[in-house]
Amino acid sequence: MSVVRPDKSKLFYRELPRSWWLSKQSYFLFMLRELSSLFIAIFLVVFLVQLYQLTRGPEAYAAFARKLSSPGWILFNLITLLFALYHSITWFYSSAIVLPLRIGEREIPRNLFVALNIGVLIVVSLVIWRLFLAFNG
C-alpha cells in the first residue's frame, strides 16, 4: 500500500518562529508533555545503572542507593514523578480518543474513561508496592 502525498513544492508553508510553542498555553503544555518522556527515560537509565551496580556486588548497590538520597537527586526524582503523572493523565485522555470504550453502542464519557484508568493506575501501583515489600521484607 502506498500513500500518495502532495507535491511538497506546491504546498504553502507559513514560517513559524522558533518560539511558537511559547505563544499559547496549550502549545506549551504540549511541549511539557513531550518533555515528560525525557525525564522518564533519564530515570530509567539511572535505574539501569543502579542494577548494573548490583552486578558489582551488594555494597556497590547500597552505595549507589545512598548517593540517590542527596537533595539534588531527590529534587530530580520529584520533578520526574510530576512529569510521569502528567504523562499518565495526558496518555489516558488520548487513549480515550484513540481507543474509546463502548458499552453496547454507546461510548462511555471521556472523563469516566480517564477516571477508570486512574483507578487502574492506583491499583497497579499499590499491588507493585505490596509485592515489593512482601519480597524484601
Partner: protein, 111 residues
C-alpha cells in the same frame, strides 16, 4: 526514505507500548527507587532482581519507554524548528533506544 516509511508502524507500535508502560508502571517505580529506597523507608537487598520473571518485567519496564522517548523527542525537536538535521537526529533518538535496550539485556543477564 522509503525504508524509513516502511518501518514507521514498528516505531509507532513501540512508542505506544512504551507509553502504556510509562503511564501505568513508571510512577510507582519512581516512588520506590527515587524516594523509598534511597531514603530508607524500605529495605532493598537487590536479591529480587535475580529472578527470571522479574528480569522479564524489568526488561519491559526499562526498554519500552525508551522507544516512547525516542519517538517523542525526535518529533518534538523537529517541531521546535531548531534546524537540526533530521536523519542524524533520528539515528540518535531511535539508535539511543536500541543501545539502551541492548544495555538492559546485558545488565539483566549479568545479574
Amino acid at each position: 526514505m522509503t525504508e524509513a516509511k516502511n518501518t514507521e508502524p514498528l516505531w509507532w507500535g513501540l512508542f505506544s507500548a512504551g507509553g502504556v508502560v510509562a503511564a501505568f508502571l513508571v510512577p510507582v517505580h519512581i516512588i520506590l527507587f527515587g524516594f523509598a529506597v534511597p531514603l530508607g523507608w524500605v529495605s532493598d537487598s537487590g536479591m529480587l532482581y535475580r529472578n527470571g520473571l522479574i528480569k522479564i518485567y524489568l526488561f519491559v519496564l526499562i526498554a519500552l519507554p525508551l522507544y516512547h522517548w525516542a519517538h517523542r523527542f525526535y518529533f518534538a525537536l523537529n517541531d521546535m524548528k531548531l534546524g537540526l538535521p533530521r536523519k542524524p537526529l533520528a539515528l540518535l533518538c531511535y539508535g539511543g533506544a536500541i543501545v539502551g535496550t541492548l544495555a538492559t539485556i546485558w545488565v539483566l543477564l549479568s545479574l
